[in-house]
Symmetry: C2
Subunit: 352 residues, 2 copies
């Protein structure tokens, strides 16, 4: 494309600050090409909700759909009741745009101190299912506020939904040197969903005979993430288990300040264009305690921009951004820099 139409949802707290730097690095990465970035800013999040009561209107969603990708900062503020923005905005975007591949790479970069005593080489990718499982909003409550209250949460899992994300995970595993895929679930307890996941991995494996697979219960996965994270290459897992283990994964590579993520819908129209914009966001939250102080580390957002570039076909530019992040981290040491300084340094490295 000659131009990337980018929907920008800076959101709350440090969201605005880190997104600004993400855009700066994006511009730097595309400077040598004839591609320009056309941004549309969407005022979504706590401020908008307080002002209008809206989380994500149909008009906003329709307008976001007209873009090639979404860059999201962070959503959420303690002043908004829990669940309102998560379900009304963030998850609504993921579900409406059918972001079934929630991609979360974990790499321990040189120069970054892991909280693990003996981390070894950490370089794996979690492919978290993004549109099913316990995140569907199914369930409800009965006799609320009485001693007889019953609350249910229903995890909904379909062969269709699991197969497409499993296939995507196999493709990613096949493209990596180790070609190994680990399914993480809890099929000894969640037998219906778990066995569907297991059978699906076995079936799709036939299309990728060179990919080896294994299985871990989610509880055991948290142990290996502590004692031997180098064993992981690609992990495929359910929406909730993916939520949990990717935060742990972020912790062992030095913190969620460094963890990037992509909410991807990889499906394409007949003309080769994507059926919906994918969304790129740091794993961290809005961090209201440090918002507005220029202290937030924009590295996770910049790393998410690398995922965005890769998704849109700018492989070379994506690698340049990743290399800038790696180099910056390697030389970072204990220096304290502002959000803008880190962004500026990264942009300068990308520019060359």
């Amino acid at each position: 494309p000659d131009s990337i139409r980018l929907a920008v949802v800076a959101g709350d707290g440090i969201g605005t600050e880190v997104v600004e730097q993400g855009l700066r690095v994006l511009d730097a990465a595309l400077a040598g090409t004839d591609v320009t970035v056309q941004t549309t800013e969407f005022d979504l999040g706590a401020r908008r909700w307080h002002a209008t009561g809206e989380t994500l209107s149909d008009a906003d969603l329709a307008s976001i759909r007209e873009h090639d990708a979404i860059l999201l900062g962070a959503i959420g503020d303690p002043s908004v009741p829990s669940g309102v923005l998560e379900r009304g905005l963030l998850l609504k975007l993921r579900f409406s745009l059918d972001h079934y591949v929630n991609l979360r790479p974990s790499k321990l970069y040189q120069g970054v101190r892991s909280p693990l005593a003996d981390p070894g080489e950490i370089d794996f990718v979690v492919v978290r299912e993004g549109t099913e499982g316990p995140y569907t909003g199914n369930g409800g409550a009965l006799r609320v506020g009485t001693p007889h209250e019953v609350a249910t949460e229903v995890s909904v899992n379909t062969a269709f939904g699991i197969e497409r994300v499993v296939r995507n995970a196999f493709e990613r595993a096949q493209a990596r040197p180790r070609k190994h895929l680990t399914l993480v679930h809890k099929h000894n307890v969640l037998v219906h969903a778990g066995h569907l996941w297991r059978r699906t991995v076995e079936a799709v494996n036939a299309e990728f005979p060179d990919v080896t697979t294994d299985y871990l219960h989610v509880d055991a996965a948290t142990i290996f993430l502590t004692t031997k994270p180098s064993r992981f290459d690609v992990i495929v897992t359910d929406n909730l288990f993916g939520d949990i283990i990717t935060d742990q994964a972020a912790a062992i590579i030095g913190g969620i300040g460094l963890a990037a993520s992509a909410n991807i819908n990889p499906d394409r129209e007949a003309d080769g264009s994507f059926v919906a914009p994918s969304m790129f966001e740091p794993v961290h939250g809005s961090a209201p305690d440090i918002a507005g102080q220029g202290k937030a580390d924009p590295t996770a957002t910049v790393a998410s921009v690398a995922l965005l570039l890769d998704h849109l076909g700018f492989g070379e530019q994506s690698r340049a951004v990743e290399a800038a992040v790696a180099a910056d981290l390697a030389e970072r040491g204990d220096r304290v820099r502002s959000t803008a300084e880190v962004g500026g340094d990264l942009a300068a490295r990308v520019a060359g």
Copy 2:
């Protein structure tokens, strides 16, 4: 009581080996008293299932009920389809005997190397709900084996079930020096169940005004378990989240070879006796790869015996067993001992 009627379910793999040592230490702990231990062995687990197709018969369950407590080794073998023994035996015991307090202490003992670079002081207890949540076996599957398969798992949560375990967790927090309780859930996504948990903690807190509380999403909890586990005192959480974070907790204190657990029903009859026997088991599994070799570490089982003694009112004897475990770990170093040697050393320390 003059005698403890103990149901022994050694189970599969290393279960038999570690339970033998647990019983040895139990005898040693009670040697100075006039209390004897009367054991009944139950042949349950993979062998029994292969031989008879039974997991837990009504007769077995009725007979187990006539005991004061259950000591369980480990259940499970790769030759049994996933879920059969978990749901038909282990969870059936927990659910039938209404073990609503699944207690899992995590303490980093002196002499034990944590995989964390800077573990700090780790000494917390997880109170995992044991009879509800996604473990109820609710849910099912439709069009199994077709591209249209739908599998659901229903998490069922009741005010009754949550309140009793939350109250128990507050009692435990109140009895500890720091008097702090952390609720772990995911109420920004699982809003029905999550808000019920949150409201219940707030309500019960009124009965324990000297206990401070806070809240963490389960994903954030995995981060703090990596970066600052010393922040935790008592954690109360849902059945599945408890399963996940207690394995991580075991990993950071040096491995599931050391992690004890108790499945407690604290309710009593009018005469002061318990309504049902509670069950004490190491967190680790049957480890078929090292079974029968005398290599398994019985420490977690012995530590579970300490929980058993405490539950039955033998506080002094419980502390003696815990002290023996602590002393043994402090002096263990890199010595390699057999299962029986470790058990013997622990029994000797307990004996005095």
